[in-house]
Symmetry: none
Subunit: 399 residues, 2 copies
């Protein structure tokens, strides 16, 4: 049996006043998701444990069955992988924004949403005390920085204070190790050096908001992670628009299928993603589809847009209701309630639909309907074992 | 958002024959608690893990999110704090009864429910091998003893055999450490010394049941515990009648609000407690109200009294149903079934009611109704994280 896992990022929400206390998912017309719920077994899921408030990175690792205490030290490496960098064991990778800094104070964290691509070339080739710095532009103002060399530690603080009108921060070691002290010290040197380079950059001459500072965050070490093939024997594929999800998938050895119209935004073409996914199912055991729009609407606090985007997902999901001999799992990584404009620890609905599944009496895919499902409440680390169980691939414990 | 946590000690019960199989909570008329259940999200809660049979001390620590393996070594320190003693790191504190002992045999574990206050003064100032003994009277026959000095261990047995007509026990070390041997040895010396002092005490001359022996139990070391402010950033207040709950609250840095008519017994004034709590909410983030009566009825095996006391709680709870912008959590520390006259491992109902909460279809606050709620089954250590989550104060894990 093949498995299709669909993660609707941040789909879970809280009661919305304009929806008479319903959530966007409950308010949306979702005949196809409801069909999956009716034919499947449903429950509530927290990617870590109820009610931890998780980031997208740790949520996805947990959903794929990877212990974050073992395989996670920061988001940087996954972002770097996601925009196409290749990492080596021991690399420390960071995310950064190209921002505007005047006299040490941040004027714009995104330098007017500049394209970092324009500055990429001039930031290459810097080496400090034996450590090589690799810089690659992401989408818009985003940048990934890889530090390569010996004795590096990811245990360092951000230079990004995450607010404008605040001072740029000195990077500090977060433990007392030599490695952390060293990494912080030379990263500070790198940031000063690139600051000078950027100040003089020709692109900045014509700009009011100069893209003159790398605001770093999310340092993480690239750790060797067993692949989905090694861990589960599953030939696996990722269909995603946004970089992080491609990066995580790459880290666990999934093949990345690029879908041109998968933007990771509200204008994404979900039909095209599901089509690619269904094609990929023919040659693979496990296909992961990531849909980002629901999370973006939650972070914008726009319940109406979230409801409409969910209806867009549902329309595209019609094709899933006809799939044969496939275990379909639909869930989210976490809730992103519109009232919070941020992730929350509230659980998300989950459905397993496919041959052999014990059904329940749930007829609607929603936060409160799925709470009454036969699965009750599970955590992310239980999803892959249940997939293995339902697809007849689980190993026997004991005898 | 502010939080009001109401613990109805031991409210959970088992089916009662005279109530046609209902529990006291199910049999009681509780329109106000039911209103909270209807407006909130409900579930079952075990303070430790289902179905551990927990004491009140470990239950409360767990509910406040403190790992008992790290912060609990015995009840003594919390009782001592609760009656107003100040403790220092390394102190070993014990609970004791003033009892009647004749020729080494216990005649009355409470010396006819004597007032220990009458004997407090004569028991002060004893020092043995560098260890200072501080004695303070609690309510009635109860006493707290603090041992202060170097190399003490809480790992010692009770002198109280917990039954009359049994012999007073020699205190023994419960491990093979020097510290435990030393602590047991000098505590035995202290108990002999105070026995002699009490024998000759003028108060005992006129009494048939002489208050002549300190029956010790619950030795515990005073451990430094991070405060609620440090742990959660919450300015916190406790409204309780009984000493233990004040002691635990004091240990975790809560401010104690004394309510004159809060007796920790059935005659307590719950209206006055809720009034104080609501006043305290204005200046604080988190208010904990403890109500003891339900537990007392359970320990007396009196289902009718328990039902009536629950109705008394409900009447007072009317004021809670009108609170705005407040997360109200009502639960218990454990069940105290009347048939057992003791704590049990049966879970207790819990409701979270406030802005943003995903409601469920539960309409009554009770053991079996809440079992069908949207929260399903949680443990004590999940309560504070959920409070932080619902009030938008939870930290993000990952990114």
């Amino acid at each position: 049996m093949k498995t299709l896992l669909v993660i609707c990022d941040g789909i879970g929400d809280r009661p919305i006043k304009e929806f008479r206390g319903k959530t966007p998912l409950e308010e949306a017309k979702t005949p196809n998701l409801d069909k999956l719920a009716e034919r499947g077994i449903n429950g509530l899921m927290n990617s870590i444990i109820f009610p931890v408030r998780p980031g997208s990175d740790v949520s996805h690792l947990s959903i794929f069955g990877y212990n974050i205490n073992e395989y996670y030290s920061g988001r940087g490496p996954f972002e770097a992988l996601g925009i196409g960098l290749d990492l080596k064991k021991g690399d420390v990778a960071l995310r950064a924004n190209l921002g505007t800094v005047e006299n040490g104070t941040i004027k714009d964290r995104r330098a007017g949403r500049i394209e970092s691509k324009l500055f990429e070339k001039e930031l290459q080739g810097i080496k400090i005390e034996g450590i090589e710095f690799i810089v690659k532009a992401g989408t818009g103002h985003r940048v990934a920085i890889v530090m390569r060399g010996k004795k590096l530690s990811p245990n360092i603080s951000d230079s990004d204070p995450h607010e404008t009108e605040k001072n740029v921060l000195k990077v500090k070691a977060l433990d007392e190790s030599e490695e952390a002290e060293f990494t912080a010290r030379i990263l500070n040197q790198f940031l000063e050096k690139t600051h000078k380079i950027l100040e003089k950059h020709s692109e900045n001459k014509k700009r009011k908001l100069k893209a003159n500072y790398l605001l770093t965050r999310g340092a993480g070490e690239f750790l060797e992670i067993p692949s989905m093939q090694e861990k589960y024997g599953l030939k696996s594929v990722c269909v995603a628009g946004a970089g992080l999800y491609k990066g995580i998938s790459k880290a666990i050895g999934m093949k990345i299928v690029d879908v041109k119209e998968a933007t990771g935004k509200l204008d994404t073409n979900i039909d095209a993603k599901f089509d690619s996914a269904i094609k990929a199912l023919k040659e693979n055991d496990f296909v992961f589809v990531h849909i980002k729009g629901t999370d973006l609407c939650g972070e914008n606090g726009d319940a109406k847009a979230k409801k409409e985007f969910i209806e867009k997902i549902d329309k595209a999901a019609e094709v899933l209701t006809g799939l044969k001999n496939t275990l379909i799992v639909v869930t989210a990584d976490h809730s992103t309630p519109c009232e919070l404009k941020a992730h929350s620890g509230d659980p998300v609905p989950i459905v397993f639909c496919g041959p052999g599944v014990r059904t329940d009496s749930v007829k609607e895919f929603g936060e409160r309907s799925c709470a009454k499902g036969g699965l009750h409440r599970i955590i992310g680390m239980q999803i892959m074992p249940e997939i293995m169980n339902l697809s007849g691939k689980a190993e026997l414990l004991g005898a």
